[in-house]
Symmetry: C2
Subunit: 476 residues, 2 copies
């Protein structure tokens, strides 16, 4: 496939900067976990860049952006590619700006870590742990995801039970962002300005440095607690989340039959018929958690990592790799027809809403809840496992959730708006006008830029030019 | 005054263990901050032990208890005497067991500190800070209060905005407690058993070791934010408490005119007519707090310690010494007729309840709120400043609070039950039967022990023998 862009001129312009043009490798670096969604799978499967460029320094990123700007070649920044919505997939081709080589931890101070964007979250924690600290939150892809990618494309995860989401003031301290201009500028964003570039998929600037808050780094103990019903597990999880003195980092509820059927390596601990709550608890809070469990009717401890011999723990993934989108992944590995949704069950009706929806769908939609702090209250997000039949039924399932009081953040959409609040983010749009006036950064992801008159209420999906046909073929 | 007990025999029995019998010094060590309450002042002013004993080790405590048990002399354990309800005042005379000399920090580990009971909270933090950690919570008497006294007589304080109260699972890890028997036993209490001895005023065991949880120790910045009205300050404080990503340790609201009139050293920062919110914010969250403040209508920053030159900060108490019961203290220093109450404004109606009560009383009851996590939600306790007229009016003010939806924890009572839930604590009572079968520990504080048939609903105060007359004289 010949490119629409003058890639040859670009390559000359960037001189010695590391690049990759082997089509197999370029395609690999043009993908993420979009295939969790059968809709995105059909729409995005063909997406590939022309070239992957891997700068080693901010100066090299500047050179790449300046060259691409001059040649009007789109640039899609990428961390580790662990997103689920095609965040870092180059819809218009051009350049994938692979930031994985810029992965140093630059400074660790009380409450703060400064990293290059490609720093892997788990590796950041390895380095901060010497100071008794760790990151506040991370996705279930902790072991492979980059901090820049998390900030640009994530919203929360493990740790959100304490700290809320990345959108909350204080959960990102500073971003250094390069603009896409003839002479790229470096902007330092703090405070309210962080909203300009956080969770913007790299559509309006390239994050070249992240300053993130740290918290106390404690050993976390995995525990799995079993319940006769999903509702009982949800009630327990909510009550545990409201135990102000018991420090946890993760409280996940997974409905029967998923634990026994999908958590294969833990299967010997997880009897069929049990719904489970996955907990990460600080080791110094283990005694308190056990006291809480003893008092809680119907809770039976199925797994307590602190009581299991190291040889029996071998090969068991940590609880966080059974949680958030790893729950989906484990379902998909057993049953490729599984997909998922993302729902919020708003406080104070979360438990009633969960129960109502769970009863309505039965086993077509297997409950999966992630308890979090949200606007100061404990409530839950859901990443229910959906037995996929048709796109139309998936839309129906979404509509039923919404009608029953659970807003859906649609993971089957690749645009910022359709996956999120379904409205224009005026701050991000204004910043794109300033930082990427030619619209070369990650094209197709910000509807407000591509189609200012798009009607979010019309029930129609946004389709980036070139993707319509494939979407039609997928029936979306 | 000759003693009812054979103090001479006791002194011989304890041999070389340090004691004090100078009446002036004994009286000093028989008191706490009970005089914040005009009621307790009248009732307890005469209370004094016969002897103060200051053991240097657990073995010496054992010897003291064994001797006192044999001679049937009451023993009242005491930390630093910073309580407000006569917790450590020896109503029946006898021995004050002064644990102030047992003040070593024995071990610091990730998430845990092990201390002797007399260890001063602020000094514990000095030692833990080397590991990047600090205590989760402390009273406003941090600089002088002991950890054993806090656990035995306190309920929460600075830090409760994150961690709830001492009563919550996980906020005390372990207590080592000596029984009052012929041969005192050492019991290790953990998990649910902690409720036996925590907040029991030393009525059912002597705490000789405390294991407490730690959290990340960060530099805290004092900020004071001004508002035109108390209600506006309360709304801001609630909203700030619900900012999951902004790490604070204290959020206190004090109604006009108290800040300008009572916070004398800060007066130049506090214009008359302003109600204020006192905030302790982690230094790495300062930028986020400023962003939050800029966005919050009606908030004006009156004081930001990070922007004030060291020479201008000299002599200014830290914010926590303007908060909790230090607010009361600062009021009392200016106007000796000030006293206080302790109220809970239950979630979710806390702001409406605060407003209603504040409007009802006007300046007779000056609002003072401490925002906390309570059962997983942000809400507030109140320690309103009351312009005291008569005990009858004070009772009326309490009754009005309760009728308006704010339960009162009465700080004008010296018993566990009347200051708290107004019911027998069966767990603490059962433990007293086991650990202090003769009822020699801190007599008069646990009604359930002294008068099993006491009727909490009769509206009558419990009066320990000998205190009736003084109570009558005080009009209570």
């Amino acid at each position: 496939m010949s490119s629409a862009y003058d890639i040859e001129a670009f390559r000359k312009a960037i001189g010695p900067i590391k690049f990759e043009d082997n089509p197999v490798l370029v395609r690999q670096k043009s993908r993420d976990f979009y295939w969790y969604s059968p809709i995105l799978k059909a729409e995005l499967d063909h997406v590939a860049a022309d070239l992957v460029v891997s700068p080693q320094s901010e100066a090299e990123v500047v050179a790449v952006l300046a060259a691409a700007h001059r040649l009007k070649i789109p640039v899609t920044p990428r961390g580790s590619g662990t997103g689920n919505y095609g965040q870092a997939m180059p819809l218009a081709g051009g350049i994938v700006l692979n930031l994985a080589d810029m992965n140093r931890v630059r400074a660790i101070n009380p409450g703060r870590v400064i990293c290059e964007p490609g720093a892997i979250l788990a590796k950041v924690d390895v380095e901060t742990r010497g100071s008794g600290q760790e990151l506040r939150m991370y996705p279930s892809t902790y072991a492979t995801a980059s901090i820049g990618g998390f900030v640009a494309g994530g919203s929360g995860g493990v740790g959100s039970i304490n700290w809320g989401g990345l959108r909350d003031f204080g959960n990102i301290l500073r971003l250094r962002v390069l603009t896409m201009e003839a002479e790229p500028r470096a902007l330092e964003l703090t405070g309210e300005d962080l909203h300009k570039a956080a969770h913007a998929y790299g559509t309006n600037g390239v994050i070249v440095e992240v300053e993130a808050p740290l918290t106390a780094g404690y050993p976390w103990i995995d525990m799995i607690v079993g319940f006769a019903t999903f509702e009982a597990g949800a009630s327990y999880a909510n009550a545990l989340g409201e135990e102000d003195g018991i420090l946890t980092k993760l409280i996940t509820v997974v409905a029967d039959p998923a634990p026994h059927e999908y958590f294969l390596r833990h299967r010997r601990f997880l009897p069929a018929g049990q719904s489970v709550v996955l907990v990460m608890v600080a080791d110094h809070a283990l005694d308190a958690l056990r006291a809480f469990n003893r008092r809680y009717k119907g809770a039976s401890t199925l797994f307590d990592a602190s009581l299991i011999a190291p040889e029996d723990r071998k090969g068991l993934p940590p609880n966080y790799e059974l949680s958030w989108n790893h729950t989906t992944l484990r379902g998909l590995r057993v049953d490729p027809a599984i997909t998922y949704l993302q729902a919020l069950y708003p406080f104070p009706n979360q438990l009633a809403t969960v129960k109502r929806i769970h009863e309505h769908f039965g086993r077509e939609v297997m409950g999966h809840l992630e308890f979090v702090r949200f606007n100061g209250k404990i409530t839950c997000f859901g990443l229910p496992l959906v037995r996929f039949s048709t796109p139309a039924r998936l839309e129906e399932i979404i509509a039923i959730h919404q009608s029953m009081g659970a807003p859906i953040f649609n993971p089957h959409r690749y645009t910022l708006e359709e996956g999120g609040m379904k409205q224009t983010d005026a701050v991000q749009l204004a910043f794109k006008r300033e930082a990427d006036p030619l619209g070369l950064l990650n094209p197709g992801k910000m509807i407000a830029w591509e189609d200012p008159n798009f009607d979010f209420s019309a029930g129609r999906n946004f389709l980036f030019p070139g993707l319509e046909e494939r979407a039609r073929a997928a029936g979306a």
